[in-house]
């Protein structure tokens, strides 16, 4: 799945937006998330997962190709922790669904049924 398909989903399932508007909205959301994480702030998306920012200390390491000893500098990284709901879903389990998301969920599910 690419960003284009996500934009198409917003365009056809939310409705009321032009393709350009749907595209701008999707871009704005990922841009906002990037800026937020860059500012050192985590993002918690209930039902999906959490994006967290972590500082890693410098440590000794190996160059995997040459096996030469190198020093890994301290760095700041982003990690994703999938929610329990998402973990259950990818394993074929039924997950509890919140009211606000229910409407969108059934629309996406209906669109998927048509695709199959």
């Amino acid at each position: 799945m690419t960003k284009a398909e996500i934009i198409e989903s917003v365009y056809s399932l939310v409705g009321g937006f032009s393709k350009k508007e749907a595209s701008d909205l999707v871009e704005a959301i990922f841009e906002t998330m990037k800026e937020t994480l860059a500012s050192g702030r985590a993002i918690k998306l209930s039902g999906f997962g959490n994006f967290v920012v972590r500082d890693k200390a410098s440590r000794p390491g190996l160059n995997p190709k040459t096996l030469a000893r190198i020093r890994l500098d301290e760095r700041r990284i982003v990690r994703f922790r999938p929610s329990l709901v998402l973990k259950l879903r990818v394993n074929g389990g039924r997950a509890p669904r919140a009211g606000a998301e229910k409407k969108m969920l059934s629309r996406v599910a209906a669109a998927n049924d048509e695709r199959e």
Partner: protein, 108 residues
């Protein structure tokens, strides 16, 4: 220090940025993450250029141990979503490593 941004805060930022009613912004945000969850549920990966990509990783079953009782437990094979941070985001976050970190509570 600022706490983690929640989904409702993300919705508010988008409503303001795009000058949309909050309920419309909420529909858009829910649609995006529901569409992505449905793709992962089908076992399909997602690539969002500049942000990152999501794949489903298969893990084999193994014999673990109950740490309290010290008894062996069979852990079944499972799938887990895996996020690989995109180059843009990776570099952006690394370049701001001097900013204070909101470690917050990262458990969902």
């Amino acid at each position: 220090m600022s706490k983690a941004m929640t989904k409702s805060q993300l919705i508010e930022v988008i409503a303001e940025r795009a000058r949309l009613p909050r309920t419309r912004a909420e529909d858009v945000v829910n649609c995006i993450f529901e569409t992505m969850s449905a793709a992962l549920e089908r076992g399909e990966g997602i690539e969002i250029r500049g942000f990152g990509s999501f794949t489903i990783r298969d893990y084999e079953g193994y014999t673990g141990r109950n740490p309290k009782k010290n008894e062996p437990v069979a852990v079944k094979p499972k799938k887990l979503p895996f996020f690989k941070v995109g180059k843009d985001l990776k570099d952006l976050v690394a370049s701001r490593a001097h900013l204070p970190l909101d470690t917050g509570d990262d458990r969902s």
